[in-house]
């Protein structure tokens, strides 16, 4: 049924998706806030840049990341000059690729839910002498919690399901950069259909349970539900 390397692939996938989602929430939230509220004329450019990973096919994005992040690429060389290792073919490379690839899926729902709440409540809190940071955490974030839920689910799920980027930047190394989607593809490529079916079926069931858990937790914390 599931081999040891399948289990390892599952584990790497969960770590990758978890870390990617966490990074995107940390850095995507201020970015989304900025995009929702800034009156800067050229912010449409940033909006367009955020949506750009949707345009490039994943293998193409992966190919350019490979060029950038490998030891011959500018970013890879930067890492090397600071005594580090080039991120291509390592877990760190997978994380960088996934953060870029899933960026719009986290930033866009957050931006929209920040924009939808307007400024009035926040301004009301300001008249009560709440600092901007205070207002952000006690007014805006709780109001945007459905946006956060959507962003978290989409960011996580999109990373679990990604294939082209991680195949190119990771190199399909079992135990190191081989994620679940690639493990399934490997089984299909080597005509091991029954193992592929088990793994794909398992992925579907697991994802369904995970989404179910998240949505039911969200329901419990919704207003008007005791």
């Amino acid at each position: 049924m599931l081999t040891e390397s399948d289990i390892t692939a599952l584990w790497i996938t969960l770590q990758l998706a978890g870390l990617t989602t966490l990074i995107l929430l940390l850095f995507g939230t201020p970015l989304a806030w900025y995009l929702a509220h800034s009156r800067f004329r050229f912010k449409v450019i940033i909006d367009a840049l955020v949506a750009l990973p949707l345009v490039l096919p994943p293998t193409v994005l992966g190919f350019y990341l490979l060029i950038l992040l490998g030891p011959r690429g500018p970013v890879g060389e930067l890492f090397l000059s600071f005594g580090g290792e080039a991120p291509a073919f390592r877990f760190s490379g997978l994380v960088i690729g996934s953060v870029l690839y899933s960026l719009p899926f986290v930033v866009q729902p957050l931006r929209d839910s920040f924009a939808a709440q307007g400024r009035r409540l926040s301004e009301a809190a300001a008249t009560l002498r709440a600092t901007p940071l205070d207002r952000f955490f006690t007014v805006s974030v709780p109001l945007a919690r459905h946006g956060f839920l959507t962003a978290t689910v989409l960011g996580f799920a999109h990373t679990v399901g990604e294939f082209g980027v991680v195949l190119m930047i990771g190199g399909n190394i079992p135990g190191k950069t081989q994620v679940l989607s690639i493990a399934i593809y490997d089984h299909v490529e080597s005509l091991e259909y029954s193992q592929a079916h088990w793994l794909a079926g398992g992925l579907l069931v697991l994802s369904f349970l995970l989404l179910l858990a998240v949505y039911s937790v969200n329901r419990r914390f919704s207003p008007g539900h005791s």
Binding site: W11, L22, R72, G76, F89, N172, G175, D186, V217
Partner: protein, 252 residues
Amino acid sequence: MQFFRYLLFILIILLGCSANPLLAATPRIAVASNFAHAMKSLAAQYKKESGQEIVLAFGSTGKHYAQIYHGAPFDAFFAADVRHPRLLEEKGIGIQGSRFTYAIGQLALWSASKGFVDDAGRVLQQGGFRHLAIANPKLAPYGLAARQVLQGRQLFTTLESRLIFGENISQTYQFIASGNAELGFVAWPQLKRPNHTIQGSYWLVPQNLYTPIEQQALLLTDNRVARDFIHFVQSPVGQKIILAHGYTLAKK
């Protein structure tokens, strides 16, 4: 905010545990997808004889080439063609002079239905099918060979509108196995697998009808085990396994 606390908790647990470290010291070999089955048998037999584990990463030769050129940590490269390992060697990547032909692929015309393909490939002239699947000749050596067979019979232009192209030889196999294409050209090793009876009907295309599908390997690092494994591949035991998977060998 309760939700975020749950989320943070889960993430911290995830981050606390790092990836499986036990596979770190063993050699890693990049292998062309079409050779996956044979390679697994080779690695299993090698493990039985030497106790050494080998990590195999399967993929398309074009992708492996780009990855190795950009520093992928592989110790050896088993390609689906001659061109890519030769290009690497010319660029000074890998151990110079270690390149060798490890297998020669054979082409087969196959249909999932019994009695559809005859043993001389006359079905190609007779027609009676809507789709003929071949691998993309630009990307896959087996696709190129398939085109040469069709061109040799002056059939390429007649059949061109009925061709469907797989991205690689596995996808081509899937087109035919699923019945979406009535027949197509696949790699003989995909059909002739140990402990596997061939479904449907086939024609093993004579090797003089297309340029030999030579597959070459290149040692990339000085890893002792990788070098030893390559010796094993060329030993009589290794060669027997390769032959059993439907490949032929280079003449010495």
